[in-house]
Subunit: 285 residues, 2 copies
């Protein structure tokens, strides 16, 4: 399975880029980096990425941040792939189903990392999984995968009884040796209570949930910074240096609200335990 | 069972009361009410309420917005009552368990009405139920009741497999004929998608989730209004008049994110269906 971010428009002449470079300069200095500059390109080319997915015959493909373009879905269907996308509201799930996706991933407000939201007009698209999944299941005819706040077998069992056909876990694997979690990031995950996470635009220009830290707090509420993927590209050198230098205060510490349930287990062993726990939770319920 | 709001301090000389009366004046005029004034008392006396609970031999008592005072818990235990309280974070649950409550109600971010939060220092106490319940169950030794975002048997089954001993439902009953839901409030509940609810301080001075409307939008972000229970008392005449006049834009339309699952059924019939649905969801999971 491969998941890609749907392409967001990029304006290299956006005046907010200069503001961001100004705001980021003192952080770069603190990390011993040169004054930040704008890169030549801000994001990978979506069509080139899709080319690879289709050519390699990836069996399951999904998109976050929007509706898969019709041409993309057609091409991937022709390559034999199943195509899905992320919804954070019932309205988004309806839009995706009408666009012909094969499955919808219902992302609860608990989820770590980027919000998959793409709709407009919702007063509150931070909908908890226990409310979101049944209402999405009632609204669409395609299978629903539940994501967000699930990090052990109890959560998987809950996703299934809510009506999902599967559960998607991310935070649960952050402490596995196979995960690319940097040492300061691992320490932050080990120490975090569920109430330690917050949703911030500070790192990427798109809302994402992670363990709260100095960078998120200091940039909270700023609405003069460029959107994703521009800000993401501009903060990337800082985050890379922060990981190398063990400076968690400048790292995007993506984690969901189930962060307290992450375990230091090899991924394969964790998957076996999760399946056993889910079965036990269903049997006891 | 009786649930009471833990007493919040009231300062009748709070200068923010004058600000609130100024802000509310045009709304009162629009509803044909006299210019708002401060009442003699802002909230019922907690000790007097507890007196009634103890004297009447209420078997289950719970508190929201704080830790039950030790004297209250002792008195109610002596009267034979079981005493619980609401937690919105793992830290709050630990505080309650240490204070000797007999059960903790874990309130997810999905919940309609007032947030039971009383802790400080949490970056984000809007924790989704699917993440909150297992972590609260792991943190405390007392039984956990799950509340928030549950409005059908799928949600009840999810609460049980997450580790709760019971589920608490509110929004599910808003359209029952027995509920005191006013006609404009009923219409708003019938029309609402889960993404239509928002958390606002506008009506009471404490954060509460309801269907978004004009009053919540126009007072959003104001931090110069008095806290609960003062603002609650000041907006009360407006809300009463709005209910009588069918003006949903001035009503506190409390509802959780499971609002789309509320059904127009008598309460007794709904309870029977909920039990059947929960059993079916557990059997199918």
């Amino acid at each position: 399975m491969v998941n890609l971010f749907a392409p967001d428009p990029v304006d290299p002449d956006d005046p907010r880029i200069a503001t961001a470079l100004e705001v980021l300069a003192p952080y770069a200095a603190e990390l011993g980096l040169p004054r930040p500059t704008a890169p030549a390109t801000f994001a990978a080319d979506f069509e080139e990425q899709v080319d690879v997915v289709a050519t390699e015959g990836v069996p399951v493909f999904s998109v976050t941040f929007g509706v898969p373009p019709a041409a993309t879905t057609e091409r991937l269907h022709a390559s034999g792939a199943v195509v899905g996308a992320t919804a954070t509201t019932v309205a988004e799930a309806r839009t995706l189903a009408a666009a012909g996706v094969d499955f919808v991933c219902a992302q609860g407000s608990e989820a770590g990392g980027h919000r998959g939201s793409f709709g407009t007009g919702a007063a509150d698209d931070l909908i908890g999984l226990v409310a979101l999944v049944p209402q999405v299941c009632d609204a669409v005819d395609v299978p629903v995968v539940a994501a967000g706040g699930i990090a052990d077998g109890r959560g998987i069992a809950a996703a299934l009884v809510l009506g999902a056909c599967a559960a998607q876990l991310g935070t649960a694997f952050l402490l596995s040796p196979e995960a690319g979690t940097s040492p300061p990031y691992r320490d932050a995950v080990r120490a975090a209570a569920p109430e330690a996470t917050t949703v911030t635009r500070a790192f990427s220009g798109r809302r994402a949930r992670g363990v709260d830290n100095r960078f998120a707090r200091e940039l909270a509420g700023r609405d003069d910074l460029p959107p994703y993927p521009v800000l993401n590209a501009l903060t990337s050198p800082l985050r890379r240096a922060a990981a190398e230098q063990g400076r968690a205060e400048f790292l995007s510490l993506w984690a969901g609200q189930a962060v307290g349930l992450a375990r230091e287990l090899p991924a394969g062993e964790l998957v076996t335990r999760l399946a056993d726990e889910a079965r036990a939770a269903l049997d006891a319920g």
